[in-house]
Amino acid sequence: MKFIEIRDLQKIYNDSEHEVHAVRGIDLSFEEGEFAAIAGPSGCGKTTLLNILGGLDEPTRGTINIGGTNVNELKSSERINFRLNNIGFVFQAYNLIPVLTAKENVEFIMHLQGRPKAERDARTKELLEAVGLGDRLNSRPSKLSGGQQQRVAVARALASKPKFILADEPTANLDSKATENLLDIMEKLNKEENITFIFATHDARVMKKAKRVIYLEDGKILKDEVK
């Protein structure tokens, strides 16, 4: 059995006038340690797929099995716990908690896991240094650039020691230097620590770095390319 297995996944959004088929019967699987990108134009269903994979949204039909757990059978509170201990998120708009410093943002998730303070402090420092922000521990998000905020978001995503990281358009708001820097960090973590990264992106630079690119169109897999 693969680490992540998606079977016959379908998502239909209903609004008052018509149905939108965002994902149309996708079968897909991932191995541990992959550095994969789900690519395609806007509206192709890549973010929906990522959200369902992360347990943030529910599918209309189909199953998602992650490490032996059928995610869509979990209750809301169980799903939150599953996310806490298994999945790291990197969002397009960084989504750091504005009242917390970089250190506190990273520490927050370990706090939720109930880890002891000494462990929290050490790992926070280690992660922020790994993403090149060892000198900005006490800066609040409003005092950081977009690239720096996204690097804090990556450190936060890693803090809980997740089984894999889902990154939705992580480079969309970054300039090329910041994008290159961020991708290098993620690639290094993937290689050295065998952390699985799955991106939803239409950024050519991300697709270039990815070891596998799954192309979506109109909610279906168009091409699954392993480099």
Binding site: L56, I80, N81, L84, F89, I97, V99, L100, S160
Partner: protein, 407 residues
């Protein structure tokens, strides 16, 4: 739990604008409610004190059945030992003996039914201060045989200082009562009704007029603290023989005034109710605004693994901390304003002032500083605040993370 407080505190401290708006909504709500209530309580107290100090005192002791049938036959024996016993009761400030009855007052041309009040001139100064109401002449000195006549009655009868007033009546046990008395002073009673019919004389002369030697119609009791009235009344009743005496407080003796205060209080409660409604919606609006602008932040917290129950708890702690600060600030902020209004009451002039004078009260609206309404108003605002918390916290608990992240 300590960690939740820490997180809540961080949210409060690091978003000062949002915190100040929430605290200000509670502060102004309580500040307004307290000032409004202090004036209401002060006004009722002013009305009650007015009637108590003008005539009735806080408590009166009569012969059994006297208040229903105010005849001299229902008077009781004047006993110094009883007065001493009552004076020794806690919260009793003074005991003032009186003999009251009715008489026909005549000055030759004019005759009128009036009320004669026989007083102990020294003791009466401790409550009703007839000396301060003098507009002409002098107060009783020694065993004066003169009378003090109320100003409207003096006008009606055409009486002037040193004129003679003839009184005719029926005395104790049906004896005839008659006497001629020099007018030594004219007094202005604040209550117009009393000002039309009152004549003061010293107690021994009143007892002599009515043939009610060593008898009293009432013992008027002045208390130190009117809030302890019920207890004091109960303590006094323990030393009285209930077959001989009856005991009444000012409320029982002035049901019309009590009714007036109650109907005014009902209006006051409606006003307070409206204020609470405005407060409630104001606080609710502020809290909804506070949670709505943080919807995405909450969505992120849930997405990365925070249980909704924990989030709801932190939010509740956060809001309660702000509510508590608002309430404490509201209490502290209202104190100087209320203290000022206690010292410098709002004074009415013109027509409004006349209305007050008709009822016999000084035309002022004073505030009163009292712990009870501070506790009550603070509790009400706290309850309103807690009720206002329920909706936003509940909506956060029901938050769909995917929708929140998209907001």
């Amino acid at each position: 739990m300590k960690e939740y407080f820490k997180l809540a505190w961080r949210n409060i401290w690091r978003n000062k604008r949002r915190t100040m708006i929430t605290i200000a909504s509670v502060f102004f709500a309580l500040w307004l409610a307290l000032i409004m209530r202090s004036i209401q309580v002060g006004s009722y107290s002013h009305m009650a004190d007015g009637i108590v100090e003008a005539f009735t005192g806080s408590i009166q002791i009569h012969g059994d059945g006297y208040w229903e049938d105010r005849t001299l036959d229902k008077t009781f024996a004047q006993e110094t030992s009883l007065m001493t016993k009552i004076e020794s009761i806690e919260n009793v400030k003074s005991v003032i003996p009186r003999l009251e009855s009715f008489a026909l007052a005549s000055t030759g041309e004019q005759t009128k039914g009036i009320m004669v009040v026989g007083i102990d001139p020294e003791r009466e100064l401790e409550l009703t201060h007839p000396d301060r109401k003098l507009i002409e002449g002098n107060y009783f000195e020694g065993s004066s045989d003169g009378v003090l006549v109320s100003s409207r009655l003096a006008d009606f009868l055409g009486l002037k200082l040193n004129d003679t007033l003839t009184l005719l009546s029926s005395g104790y046990h049906g004896a005839s009562a008659a006497g001629i008395y020099p007018v030594i002073g004219i007094i202005k009673m604040p209550n117009p009704e009393l000002d039309r019919r009152i004549v003061y004389m010293t107690l021994p002369y009143a007892q002599e007029l009515y043939g009610a030697y060593e008898r009293l119609s009432s013992l008027v009791i002045n208390v130190e603290n009117s809030n302890l009235l019920d207890k004091t009344k109960k303590d006094i009743s323990l030393v009285l023989d209930e077959e001989i005496y009856e005991i009444m407080d000012w409320k029982e003796m002035n049901p019309e005034l009590v009714q007036q205060i109650q109907s005014d209080a009902a209006g006051g409660y409606i006003m307070l109710g409206m204020l609470y409604l405005i407060i409630g919606f104001g606080v609710l609006g502020t809290l909804i605004m506070m949670t709505t602008e943080r919807r995405k932040e909450f969505g992120v917290m849930i997405a990365i693994g925070m249980q909704k129950k924990k989030l709801g708890l932190i939010l509740t702690i956060e809001m309660l901390m702000m509510g508590a600060v608002g309430i404490i600030a509201g209490v502290i902020g209202s104190l100087p304003v209320i203290a000022y209004l206690v010292k410098t009451p709002i004074r009415f002039t013109g027509e409004s002032a006349k209305m007050f004078e008709i009822y016999g009260f000084e035309p002022i609206m004073p505030a009163k500083l009292e712990l009870s309404y501070f506790l009550a108003q603070s509790s009400v605002v706290l309850v309103i605040f807690i009720l206002a918390i329920i909706y936003p916290v509940n909506s956060v608990m029901k938050l769909k993370e995917i929708k929140a992240l998209r907001s």
